[in-house]
Symmetry: none
Subunit: 213 residues, 4 copies
């Protein structure tokens, strides 16, 4: 029945294999970094022949780039769902912080992939027109929120939205990225649920404490 409806099965399998490779590669690169990742493990995890990876993705670097592209596409898609313009300024800031925090928390691969790419001076990213075209809506949304807050007399003047956006990302990202070493240094489990809740509370306070006049 499926066969009679369309000439798709072949294509579907191909797509399925590619998706399986991409997913496995994302996990492998996320867990071991670019240099530590193994093509063999990706093939095994994806359940495909190793040769197929080269067939579809060329080589390890191109595969890494494909993973990066998908990673950025994913976060951009998630960002699209965030409608800060419909909220009052304070709530919008809260939501932005919360979204950023939870996105990183739920997508640890995002952090390790970016770290790996930064270790390599963003060589892959620089090659990708696709990613560079995927503009994050958040900076503009944040700029609007800040302007609205300023006009309402709630927020302070002269806040640079890019700087603030980076700062919000920072205080979410770093805590999660460096959690293992911080946990050892401070001698406590900074990934415990309670610690995570306290962290979100602090960063929200920090950001609001700064923007509110």
């Amino acid at each position: 029945m499926a066969a009679s409806t369309a000439p798709l099965p072949r294509t579907r399998d191909a797509d399925k294999s590619q998706q399986a490779i991409l997913q496995a590669a994302m996990e492998e690169f996320a867990q071991h970094g670019h240099a530590g990742a193994r093509i063999d493990r990706i093939a095994e995890q994806a359940g495909v022949n190793k040769r197929l990876i080269y067939y579809y993705f060329g080589n390890k670097d191109d595969l890494f780039l494909a993973v990066l592209e998908r990673t950025y596409a994913d976060i951009r898609a998630a960002e699209q769902a965030l409608h800060l313009d419909a909220m009052d300024p304070v709530e919008a800031v809260r939501q932005l912080v919360s979204f950023t925090w939870h996105y990183y928390l739920d997508h640890p691969e995002f952090i390790t992939l970016l770290n790996s790419e930064n270790l390599h001076q963003a060589v892959h990213l620089k090659q990708s027109a696709r990613i560079q075209e995927m503009n994050s809506p958040l900076v503009q949304l944040l700029a609007d929120v800040l302007e609205r807050g300023r006009r309402e007399g709630l927020f302070r003047d002269g806040i640079d939205p890019i700087q603030l956006y980076i700062s919000i990302a920072s205080i979410c990202y770093f805590y999660l990225s460096n959690n293992p070493t911080l946990s050892v240094i401070f001698g406590r489990d900074l990934r415990a649920p309670k610690a995570l809740a306290q962290r979100l509370s602090h960063i929200t306070e920090l950001v609001l404490g700064y923007v509110l006049r």
Copy 2:
């Protein structure tokens, strides 16, 4: 006395060899991460026989740990020189932010080494009693500063010094750590002198904006 002045231009200097290896290893691990680092390159850079690395440091992991230990020892030593207790609270916060920022800026290896260690879930760090004993004085100093500021009616109440310390580290670290990808995404050079100055200005403002009532 004659004995102590004599052997200057010797090659058979164990300590010198070890330091050369350690320095070369720090650079190699910082530049390529743990998995990407090459023992061969370290030997070449250190100007010693590859075998000597194993003679003194055992294996790649132990060498990496030795590098981590030195890295932490270095920052702890720098932190010791910071006398926040002699300053008024606002100035102390400024100095802490400035110190943190400049330390990371001047020691890019600190960032990449920590990232590499975090990718590996701090496995090496967990083994090192030495590092765990090197307590940073900054958290306590910051706690004192916050308390003084609070008593003087300058600072807000209920600030957790550990959270704030991590946040200060975050906003300094992330900007530098993720500079390559951020620069591509935002389409401008975030390491340009002017951009760096603006960043320091922003983070100082952000932190003071939060702590001041």
Copy 3:
């Protein structure tokens, strides 16, 4: 049928490659022992890329085990061809001795491989369910022969077949295994054809002298 005759001079023959590796490994391990064997030489002798050895056999130890398994399989196969039950008891004992002697004489690799494995306390053998399942038929055959001889009044009573089997193996094995040192100590070539013939004659006499009442 055409299909089966076609691909003769192919190099891409997995089984052929594996057999070539196994054969070369057997010779290398037999000649140099486990520790003295070199993977490089095995690859060269087998005419394959060194990497292929790891592809098929995992590592040196696993390869050694594969060689051991084949070695035991070979001797078990040879033992199967020995039909002691069809002979009169005295002839059967003669044949068993002769078979054992000639098998060791014709398969010097059996001796050195076993010596190597014994030096390592049989660590590889202990892992191999396969070898442990390959029961030698000889002990049971010998037990039957001894029982027949006893009933016919030819052989003495109370001979333990396992002990006798080990003794027969001993007097064949040791002479060949320790031939180099014995030759030096006794100052004559114990591998000369005449010496070998005398040895077989002696051991046959020794065993028969013991079993016959």
Copy 4:
């Protein structure tokens, strides 16, 4: 007091170091064979600097030879204590078997060192005039015993003492040398005290069963 009696201390230390090296080397070569032995471990075990091994023994092969020489010297010394000429022939044979068995049992290093040397076609032994001059008295003693037994009408005629000597060595040596593999193959611990006693009983019976008419 010791210092005043002679100028020996220095020499004694030297001798002590040499003996420590030799002892450690014997254990190392016995446990790992020639190829598997490590100079580093020998130095560590002997508690001396690695360089000293080269100072006293030249190189690994020469050290191995020195170990072999001591090993042969030891067994020759033990053999000297065996006075078969004072016993009646049957008792003398029993004693020879028992001595051989217990010597191998108590000196496992003898077995593994000889196996290692035989793997190498006795290359070291061939170089050693010393060892070749250390004639074992046992063959001659056995010849005398056999002759006495024959004259007393107890022993059979025409027994070659060298062959019998080798056979006695065989049945003792092989059981112990190949104990690990035999234990696995037979599925029982052939080094258990009871198994050892049974073995000695069997080999005594076997030899006497042969020599007695």
